[in-house]
Amino acid sequence: MTNIRFLHTADLHLDTPFKGMAHFPAEQFAILKESTFQAFSNFIAYAVRTKPDFIVIVGDIYDGEERSLRAQLKFQEGMKLLQKAEIPVYLSYGNHDHLKGNWTRFELPENVHVFNGEVEEKSLQVRGETVNLYGFSYPERHVRQAMIDLYPVAENDAFHIGLLHGSVDGDETHAVYAPFTKAALLSKRYDYWALGHIHKRQHLQTEPPIVYPGNLQGRHRNERGVKGFYDVTLSKTSSDLTFIPASAIVFENVPVSCQGIRHAGEWFDLCEDVLHAFTEQVGAAVVSLQMVDIDAEADALFQQTSEEEWLFALRDRFQHHSPLLWIRAIQFERQVIENDASEILLNPVMETMEHWGKEDWETLLSDLYQHTRSMKYLERLTAEEVEEIQMEVEKSLRIELSERR
């Protein structure tokens, strides 16, 4: 039996703006902006170099309806390179670049096969083997229908690969993105399920592989780690998946152990060492530093200055770092401060707050978060964020009380 080899990627989000980059210096925007293109270029370069039999791209090539023309141009150029290398491309559009969007599509070269708004089958021959690919493009932003039901069941010995941009049924917020169940996928008896939409790389099933390759380039602090695509080799009996890194900038949380730190200089040096080691490993990065193992002396040191000041000072140190290194935030993971006589005042306040439910919070913050002008710029607070706020409240209350001692 012949093996077939293809690359599986999704969620390119070309030319997407990075989120949560507060205070990021404008003069370095270019580096951020280029990163999605760079990741894409890395992908194309890999393809041209290793010549897979074909490529599947499962939705969300562009970030949004207001996709930039430049993104299209870059994509077109990439596709042309693949055409030159005689690599066929099978792609479907996802919720971010659905078919209903009112824009001019750049003409793609003939090696690119685009799935239309309904589930359809496309075939190609690879060294005498037939490969059938199934998929659809989002006809509009939301696809509530379980599109999986429309995929045919594989019935012959050919290779069958499903392209599906969507999320597993059950997550309320993602129900509008062609929900499916693992069982439904398995029921189609395909050799490979090429999924897209979820940006976190994951395997829902090893055999046959049901795979989210994750996006090519992380775009915010919750898309951490090195991003890339899969180089897949399939036979009728086995599969071999290799993750190929492609991202140009890595988002990550980096822990820094502060045990024994006494002076600011020591701390700065420590952070630099850790971060140098980190960037050497992953290249350009946007990091959240997590100060751990804070002992009493280190704590005393950190108390000397506001957390914001520490952050700014450290950012200054990495201002001209190459490759790009942006310190998004510093978290100080402190043990509960001992010997704090303010508990008696603090506790009742915190207890009062712990009784608040989701709605209480929303009502409380409605002035800003439900304000007609500002609500469009603020996303609804998640439970996690509420917890963060509570921690912040406790922190600031402690500070305020200790100041009044």
């Binding site: 404008a26 902006k33 207001e66 996303e379």
Partner: protein, 956 residues
């Protein structure tokens, strides 16, 4: 929580002391300085740590140097039996907690055990003293009320402060309708940015239509270009046709013309030859004509007459040229002389004061001969002599007068002698007479001698004068005469000196002189007097006589002078001069008169000479004019004459040359005429060859010949040109004009198409630029990223705001709960205690809407705290504290420490409070007092005499 036992290692004055406490009320009694406060502080120190060394609290370190610290044994509802031991160590001391189950703990465990209470919080609720109450007294109503409230919820103030701080900070961050708070500003920025994004996005919308239009343009361009190519081909065809058309027409014409010309003869190089001959002929004829002309001119010149007589006359005139010039110059000299003489005449005339010509005429005519001059000098001399004489006389007169004067003076000095003397003297008349005579004669002689001397002097002077004159004028004859004069004079004088009379007189005198001596005195006296008188008289009359004579001479002289002057006057009048000028200038006047007369005479001479020369010159002019037949200015006369002579000489020369020339010309003319004839014959031969009879016809024949040659050449060229285009159909019905119109029409169409093309191409370029710009423009994604960054910052700030909001809200909510739930409960409890304490006098305690406390009497009267009596105030306070402590029994079951707070209570109320305390068994009370009897008031209290604590130890 109840304290069971205190073990003091060393604390203040207490050392090594153990105090056992009861589970409910403990009364620690002692006199002042017994150490009550020390025990109280011991409990607090062990539980909450030793105060820092520099704090306001005493550390109670034992003076004896024994071990610092101790133990507190207690039983806790949660943790069971525990022992807390604190000893000297770090500032707060080293603490250990021993639990019932054998576990040990440090500060952290102690905190837990103490429910996280610090000392301040603990004291605020569970420890009170009279001191605190006394403090309250000083406070005003509001403060009092606040303290009451705060005392039960320690740190509430802090929380309230934090709340309001949060509120303020929130306002700085965000206001619903604000503009300046940070979030509002950010919001505006975001809005602006979003609008900018929208605008950019709209620009992107142009892309699709632009691309569509580009496609359309490409199609249109293709159509237009095809059409243009077709039209251009057609134009090219027509243009060729139009180019060839005239060639065909021309060819036809040429052929026809050639036919009509037929055969035509013309001598080879006929025109060249003809024109050469013709040219030569013209030249020859011109020479003949010019020769003839020349001849004619020569004849004319030769006809001119030569005036030989005139020439002779002229030559004669020239011979006399020098004479002419001399005369002219003499004339000029005379004129000059005349002028100078006239000037001299006028000058002299004016000097002589001649004012009129008549006066002048008299002057000129006057006799100025030598004789007249002599006459003048004579007169002048005599006048001068008279004057000299006059001077001499005057001098003599003066001398005489002086002499007269002297005599009269002398007369005065002569004194008259006595009469006797006179008589005596008369005796001597004769002698005296003789003597007198002799003396008189003597006197005269002396006088004469004087005169002689004077004359001698005159002679000498005269001689000297003459010598000087002769020496100057070198007249030696005169010199001789002059030298004789002194000799003559000397002789004359000598003769006068040898007078015989004188000798005689002298002899008489000498004879009689001896005899007179006797009568000397008298005679001399009288005689001298007489003599003197007489002599003086005589002298005087003599002198007067002389004077008279002199006067006469003088008068005579004056007359002479007058006459002489009269004569001079008359003399001058002849010359027209009035008045008598001074004698010295008269000779000058005479000289000038004579000069003027001389000048006048010279003038007359000059005039005469001039007249003579003028007539001679006039004569010459007339001669010259006769010859030249012309009026001539006198000055240029000889220039003219010489010119005229020159001219005549030239004419003669010329005529001689012309005659020679004439014969030469005659020969030449003959020659040229023959040549001319030869040329004429040659032309005739050419005409015959061309079969024509004149020049015009000859040229016409030549033209035809030339045309024929050209036409043949043209025919050849056309054939060649046509050959290039090969076979070409020409519709000879078309004309150039119709062809041109067709081409023009087509070109217009092409141009229109071209314009359309240009418009489209421009539009295309523009659109291509636009689309390229849109594709490559990174502004949009830049803006998107910026928007995200701003949004992230906004979100961050929003979270900060949310934190503050949540904190403020939590505090507010807690406070509300405190006020609305806890406080009413506490108040109710406090009211009931207060009612008990006051024996029903007051029903309750409440908080007014303003936040102040009030006590309400059983009759419903409201009293602000401040209006209560001291004791009642304390009771109200106690009620609140007890109620508060009671309300916290669950969360903080601490003992209540009291420091003699009941001293102001009366018997009734004291018993009431004791009742209350004894009823509230939940709390342990540790009551310090210095009032001995207090220990007997309680029924179920454990009493400890603090004064005895030490004693117990010392007893050991």
């Amino acid at each position: 929580m109840k304290i069971e036992k205190l073990v003091i290692y060393g604390f203040g004055k207490h050392e090594d002391v153990t105090v056992e406490l009861g589970s409910s009320i403990n009364i620690l009694y002692g006199h002042n300085e017994a150490g009550k406060t020390t025990i109280q502080q011991f409990i607090l120190h062990i539980l909450f740590g030793f105060p820092p060394r520099n704090s306001q609290f005493l550390r109670y370190e034992p003076k004896s140097g024994s071990k610092y610290g101790g133990q507190v044994h207690l039983r806790d509802p949660l943790y069971g039996k525990c022992m807390i031991e604190r000893v000297r160590g770090k500032s707060a001391g080293d603490v250990k907690v021993y639990f019932e189950n054998g576990e040990q703990g440090d500060e952290k465990a102690l905190k837990r055990l103490l429910r996280q209470y610090d000392r301040a919080s603990f004291e605020a609720i569970f420890s009170f003293s009279l001191l605190q109450l006394q403090d309250f007294e000083k406070m005003d109503e509001q403060q009092f009320s606040r303290t009451l409230l705060a005392s039960g919820t320690t740190g509430v103030d802090h929380l309230l402060q934090i709340e309001s701080k949060m509120e303020k900070e929130m306002e700085r961050l965000f206001k619903k309708n604000g503009r300046n708070p940070m979030l509002n500003q950010k919001l505006n920025e975001l809005n602006t940015l979003e609008q900018e994004l929208q605008e950019h996005r709209k620009k992107l919308d142009h892309y699709a239509p632009a691309i569509r239009r580009l496609k359309e343009i490409d199609e249109s361009l293709l159509t237009i270009r095809t059409e243009m190519k077709r039209l251009t081909d057609e134009v090219r065809q027509l243009t060729t046709a139009r180019q060839l058309y005239p060639l065909y027409v021309e060819k036809e014409t040429v052929t026809k013309r050639l036919q009509s010309i037929g055969s035509q003869q013309f001598p080879a190089d006929g025109i060249g030859r003809y024109e050469t001959i013709r040219h030569k002929l013209t030249e020859a004829e011109a020479i003949v004509f010019s020769l003839q002309d020349e001849m004619k001119r020569l004849e004319q010149i030769l006809e001119e007459q030569v005036e030989e007589e005139k020439l002779i006359g002229l030559n004669q005139l020239i011979a006399k040229e020098s004479d002419w010039h001399r005369k002219l110059s003499t004339m000029t000299a005379l004129e000059t002389e005349q002028a100078s003489l006239l000037e001299r005449q006028a000058q002299l005339g004016s000097r002589l004061g001649m004012q009129t010509p008549e006066e002048m005429e008299i002057l000129i005519r006057a006799d100025a001969s030598i004789r007249k001059e002599e006459e003048m000098y004579e007169r002048l001399e005599s006048l001068k002599a008279y004057d000299q004489e006059l001077v001499l006389i005057e001098r003599e007169q003066k001398r005489l007068q002086e002499a007269l004067q002297r005599i009269s003076e002398k007369a005065q000095y002569v004194t008259r002698p006595s009469d006797e003397a006179i008589a005596q003297a008369k005796n001597w008349p004769s002698i005296q007479k003789q003597m007198a005579e002799a003396k008189a004669y003597h006197a005269i002689q002396a006088q004469q001698q004087q005169q002689t001397k004077r004359i001698g002097m005159i002679f000498i002077g005269l001689a000297l004068l003459l010598i000087g004159y002769s020496l100057i004028n070198q007249q030696y004859g005169l010199l001789f005469i002059a030298s004789l004069i002194p000799a003559v004079a000397l002789f004359y004088l000598k003769s006068r000196m040898n007078d015989s009379n004188a000798q005689e007189m002298d002899e008489i005198l000498a004879t009689y002189q001896g005899r007179e001596q006797e009568m000397t005195d008298l005679v001399i006296r009288v005689e001298s007097y007489e003599h003197e008188r007489k002599k003086l008289k005589e002298e005087k009359s003599q002198l007067e006589l002389d004077m008279h004579r002199l006067q006469e001479t003088y008068d005579g002289l004056l007359v002479d002078i007058q006459q002489t002057e009269q004569l001079l006057q008359t003399f001058l009048t002849h010359y027209g001069i009035d008045g008598l000028p001074s004698a010295t200038i008269i000779p000058e006047l005479f000289r000038m008169i004579r000069e003027i007369q001389e000048v006048t005479r010279q003038l007359t001479d000059v005039k005469k000479k001039r007249a003579q020369f003028a007539s001679e010159i006039g004569q010459r002019m007339l001669e010259a004019e006769a010859i030249l037949k012309q009026d001539i200015p006198r000055e240029d006369l000889y220039d003219w004459i010489r010119k005229e002579q020159q001219r005549h000489l030239q004419v003669m020369e010329r005529q001689k040359a012309q005659k020679m020339r004439r014969s030469e010309l005659a020969n030449e003319l003959q020659e040229k005429q023959t040549y001319r004839q030869f040329l004429r014959e040659q032309i005739q031969t050419l005409f015959q060859e061309a079969n024509v009879d004149g020049e015009e016809a000859y040229y016409a024949a030549y033209q035809i010949q030339q045309e024929k040659i050209a036409l043949m050449e043209q025919q050849r060229t056309i054939d060649l040109q046509l050959a290039v285009h090969g076979e070409f159909e020409i519709d000879m019905s078309e004309t150039d004009v119709t062809l041109e119109n067709s081409i023009q029409n087509l070109k217009e169409v092409i141009e229109e198409k071209g314009q359309d093309e240009t418009v489209l191409v421009e539009e295309k370029a523009k659109l291509e630029n636009q689309t390229t710009a849109l594709i490559t423009d990174e502004t949009y994604s830049q803006l998107q990223q910026q928007f995200e960054v701003e949004k992230a910052q906004f979100t961050e700030l929003a979270k900060v705001w949310a934190t503050k909001k949540a904190l403020a809200a939590a505090i507010a909510q807690m406070m509300d709960e405190l006020k609305e739930k806890k406080l009413p409960n506490v108040l109710a409890e406090a009211s009931s205690i207060f009612e008990k304490l006051t024996d029903g006098r007051y029903a309750s305690l409440l908080i007014t809407t303003e936040g102040t406390f009030e006590a309400v009497s059983t009759f419903g009267m409201h009293f602000p705290i401040i209006e209560l009596s001291q004791a009642t105030k304390e009771q109200a306070y106690l009620s609140l504290r007890l109620a508060l402590a009671g309300s916290m029994i669950e969360t903080a079951p601490f003992p209540i420490i009291m420091d003699d707070p009941f001293v102001h209570f009366d018997e009734t109320r004291l018993s009431h409070i004791i009742e209350v305390l004894e009823q509230s068994t939940a709390h342990q009370f540790i009551y310090f007092t210095c009032h001995e009897d207090m220990q007997y008031r309680f029924k179920r209290a454990k009493t400890i005499n603090v004064s005895e604590i030490g004693k117990i130890r010392s007893d050991k």
